[in-house]
Structures are given as structure tokens and as C-alpha cells.
């Protein structure tokens, strides 16, 4: 099997996973902070 297939597989998995965990952490943070603000303003 071509060595590049292993390299691309490893990079794709790592970069996609890093993007997903960053996005999920950011979305959770935004949602929780918005909820906290809403309750404070009530």
C-alpha cells in the first residue's frame, strides 16, 4: 500500500478530530454563557 495513504489517513483523522473537539467546546461554552447571561438579566 502507498505510504501516502497512511500519512493522509493519520493527518485527516487528527485534524478533523481536533476541529470537532474545538468546535464542540466553543459551542458548549457559548451556549452555557448565553444561558447564564439570560438568567442574570431576568
Amino acid at each position: 500500500m502507498d505510504q501516502w495513504a497512511f500519512v493522509i489517513g493519520a493527518y485527516a483523522l487528527t485534524l478533523t478530530g481536533t476541529a470537532l473537539i474545538s468546535l464542540s467546546s466553543w459551542r458548549t461554552m457559548r451556549a452555557q454563557e448565553a444561558e447564564a447571561r439570560r438568567l442574570t438579566e431576568r
Binding site: 500519512v7 493519520a10 473537539i21 474545538s22 451556549a31 438568567l39
Partner: protein
């Protein structure tokens, strides 16, 4: 350090810190990956598979660094009762587990063309797998534990985090103590056995991934603190 253990003071710093850590981290990571893939040369023996080094090593560093962070946070929680220490420990667990998994998977992908096998039960790989299971145990304990302080973890989870740190030197020394398919330590305090032509993109990816990891931890800490605030407010409203 004690000065920043106050959640309100931490939040004031955490908001700009998230941006300062995330964007430079992402930029360095992308530069490092691009250079690792297209600029640095292939290894004379391993060929192009050596390029996996630029993501595998930072993942291993962050897997072990994440647990070291949990252990330090646990110590601060148990000894000094810092209100933020438990939050920091809890926020580090999921990204730490993620990068440990990435280390195991990329190592396995690297192993197939290099050693001819996806997996070998040797000291380095097995101790890294144990670290992954320790993370899962810590996450389960932290989620199930009675909360002590704002969004924190119980003393049991903190003790688990502290005791689990015994695995970190075992991982580090495993390639010296036992015969292993895994190469010996190639980057030490005395220098590196990797040629500088291959080594320099690692500086970019190592710094980039570390900054991103820190940004993710700060974001998760902010989320835990906000959730705690919501829960406290809801309880007050319910009481009337």
C-alpha cells in the same frame, strides 16, 4: 497563582486568553502540518511515513501533559482547596483523552507500514493504552461525583487523578526499561537524535497543538463555570 484562583478574576483573563491561545495555535498548527507534509524531506529508511511524527509526537505530549495537569490540579484541590483547581482538572480530561486516543491511532497507522503490524503489546503502547483507560475512568468519576465547589470534582476523583500520575514516568521510561518495537527516546534534554532537516516542523506542530489544547481547556472551564452559575441561579429561583 492564588490570585487567579478566583473564578471572577479568572473569567476576566479567560475571555481574551481564549482568542490569544486559539488563533496563534491554529496558525502554527497549519504551518507545521503543511511544512511536515510538503517541505521537510522523507526519511531515508522510513520514507514518507516519517511525516506522521509531526502529529503523533504532539498528541503523545498532550496525552501525558494533560494527565500531569490533572494531577497538579488534584493536588491544588486537595491541599489548598483552590476553587478553580477542580474545574481545571475536569476541563482537561476530555481533550487529554482525545489526544491520547489520537496518539494511539496515529502510532498504529505509523506502525503498519514501518513495523508490519498495527499493534504490539509492548511497554510503550500498553502503558499509553492504560493512560487512555485512566482518562475514561477519571471522566466517569468526575461526572458521577458529588460536586464540591463550583462545577468541580469530588475528592475521590482528585485522588484518582493524583494516583494515576504514576503511569506518566512509566510511559516515559517504558522504552528504556523493556524491549520494545517502539524506538528509544529520540528527543532528550541533551539533544535530539533526529536530523534537524526533519525536526524543525515539529516545533510548529508541538507549539500549535499545545496552544490549541490550552484554548480548549479554557473554553471548557468557561462552560463549566457558566453552567454552575446557571444551576445556582435555578436553585435560587426554585426556592423563590
Amino acid at each position: 497563582m492564588h490570585r487567579f484562583a478566583n473564578p471572577a478574576r479568572f473569567l476576566k483573563i479567560a475571555r481574551p486568553l481564549t482568542v490569544w491561545l486559539f488563533w496563534p495555535g491554529l496558525l502554527l498548527l497549519l504551518i507545521g502540518c503543511a511544512c511536515g507534509l510538503f517541505v521537510s524531506p522523507a526519511d531515508y529508511l522510513q520514507g514518507d511515513t516519517v511525516r506522521i511524527l509531526y502529529i503523533h509526537v504532539p498528541a503523545a505530549w498532550l496525552g501525558m501533559g494533560g494527565w500531569s495537569g490533572i494531577a497538579i490540579a488534584a493536588l491544588m484541590q486537595l491541599v489548598w482547596r483552590h476553587p478553580l483547581a477542580a474545574v481545571a482538572g475536569r476541563a482537561t480530561a476530555v481533550p487529554g483523552a482525545f489526544f491520547t486516543a489520537i496518539c494511539l491511532i496515529t502510532g498504529s497507522i505509523w506502525g503498519r507500514p514501518t513495523w508490519g503490524t498495527w499493534w504490539e503489546w509492548d511497554g510503550r503502547m500498553t502503558s499509553m493504552l492504560v493512560l487512555f483507560f485512566l482518562y475514561l475512568g477519571y471522566i466517569a468519576l468526575a461526572n458521577a461525583s458529588t460536586r464540591q465547589g463550583p462545577g468541580g470534582v469530588s475528592a475521590v476523583a482528585a485522588i484518582f487523578g493524583l494516583v494515576g500520575a504514576v503511569n506518566i514516568p512509566i510511559i516515559n521510561r517504558s522504552v528504556v526499561w523493556w524491549n520494545s518495537l517502539h524506538q528509544g527516546p529520540s528527543i532528550t534534554l541533551r539533544g535530539s537524535s533526529i536530523d534537524s532537516a526533519l525536526l524543525w516542523p515539529l516545533g510548529f506542530t508541538l507549539t500549535g497543538f499545545t496552544l490549541l489544547f490550552a484554548a480548549i481547556v479554557v473554553m471548557r472551564m468557561r462552560a463549566i463555570l457558566a453552567r454552575t452559575k446557571v444551576e445556582a441561579r435555578m436553585q435560587r429561583l426554585a426556592r423563590g
